[in-house]
Structures are given as C-alpha cells and as structure tokens.
C-alpha cells in the first residue's frame, strides 16, 4: 500500500500511516489529507506543524487529550478544545493529524 506523490511512491501501513518518516513532504501531507477527505487550510497546518514540532522534541506522537491540552497551552482555549479540534479533524484530531503529519499512530490512543 502506498501514496503517489509527484511520481514517487511512499509506502504506508494498513491504516495509512507512512512507514518511513523521512519520506514526508508538504505535498504528501496534502495527498494523505485528500484520502481522509480533508482539505488542508491554515488551521489544519497549524495543528500538523505543532505535532511535527512535538515529535521532534519528544520523539512521540501524543495521545489526543495530551494534544488538545498542549494546543490549549500554546495557542489558547479557543483552539485547545474538543469542538475546534474535531471540526478540523472529524475522525480524531490526533489520529488524522498525525497521519497527515507523517508521524506514527499516537501513543496512548486506545
């Protein structure tokens, strides 16, 4: 199973998470988002970039409640809440946003 981006092939697992994290690109993010029926806008990118920074610092994709709490801390309560985050990523902010960000499935998402 693989995504096709600009003529190159990026492997992913059965749930759509890419296998080699180094193969991520912004174009790939758009492709993954499309397969999730999400049209990326600035708000989506803000979360995706936040997750990539979080992974860079802690080497971990955070669980959804940790993600929302951390967003609240860094961007304020108008963004760090369930309603806002689920409007952006209806099938789970951590799961979908991590997939688009090219990260592993979040640790602690049961």
């Amino acid at each position: 199973m693989a995504y096709q981006v600009n003529g190159s092939t990026v492997e992913h697992d059965e749930e759509g998470y890419i296998t080699n994290l180094d193969e991520w690109s912004k174009e790939l993010a758009d492709t993954i988002a499309e397969s999730e029926n999400i049209e990326m806008n600035e708000e989506h990118w803000e979360v995706v970039n936040f997750l990539r920074d979080y992974y860079e610092e802690y080497q971990i994709a955070p669980a959804v409640r940790v993600l929302i709490k951390s967003i609240k801390k860094s961007m304020g309560p108008e963004k760090g809440n369930n309603k806002y985050m689920y409007e952006l990523f209806p099938y789970g902010p951590a799961k979908q946003a991590c997939k688009i960000a090219g990260l592993p499935k979040p640790t602690g998402c049961v």
Partner: protein, 135 residues
C-alpha cells in the same frame, strides 16, 4: 465511581540492548489514559535510562530518552531514582536529564519530576503500591 489504584512501574534494565525499557515507557504512556496514580522507579542499570546526552546513532535504534520529558503532559509526575544504584555506577543526579511537570494546582509552575531516594525509601514506596509492574 472508579477506584484509583497506585501503580508503580519498576525499571531495572539499561535503555538499549533489550526491549524492556522502551516497552515499559510505552505501557506507562498507554496506561496513563486510565487516570490511575502512576509512579516510575529506576534502579540497578535502569538508572541509565534517564542519563542525558544519549546518542544511539552507532547502534541504529531510536533514542527514546526525550520521551521521558513528555511524561508530565501525560500527568505522570513521580520518577523515583535509587541513590545507591547511581552511586554503584559512578553517576550523580547531574548525569540525569532534567524532567519537569507543570503543576495545575500551583498556577502551572514547573516542578521537577525526578526524586532521588535511598534504598529504604524505595522499599517503602514499593510497599505502598496496589500494583507493581517490573521491567
């Protein structure tokens, strides 16, 4: 109403070479969702898990030591290190990475998660638990 139990995860092995250390950390992070009273203990070679400046390039595995710094986000804020285990390996508290959590009840003040205790104190901490998981 659910009952909160005291869980202690005991880490005795060096971070790499076996899968125990990483598995333990993953269980802690997954288990954190269940809102129990979680503590971690580090003794014997387990104290090496928290040393700073780890570099795993030469052995081709992921350096997961930065993940310990995310424990505070998961509300895991008690990391007990045994003083004797540090001493026996020529380590001091300064060889360990700094791990902090933000105390919600104290205006999000940053507080240290690492608490160095002696062997007798560690025994008392273990005796005080409902569940002890050894890795």
């Amino acid at each position: 109403m659910s009952v909160t139990k005291k869980f202690l995860y005991v880490n005795r092995k060096a971070p790499y070479g076996t899968i125990y250390a990483l598995e333990s950390l993953e269980v802690v992070l997954i288990g954190a969702a269940f809102e129990q009273d979680v503590s971690l203990a580090f003794l014997d070679d387990g104290v090496f898990q928290l040393t700073k400046g780890q570099d795993t390039k030469g052995i081709g595995v992921k350096n997961f030591s930065p993940t310990f710094r995310a424990l505070g986000d998961y509300e895991v804020t008690k990391l007990y290190i045994e003083q004797e285990s540090l001493d026996e390996r020529g380590l001091t508290k300064d060889d360990l990475q700094e791990i902090v959590y933000e105390d919600e009840d104290d205006d999000w003040a940053e507080k240290p998660s690492i608490r160095v205790v002696n062997r007798a104190e560690m025994a008392a901490i273990m005796a005080d638990q409902d569940v002890v998981l050894s890795f």
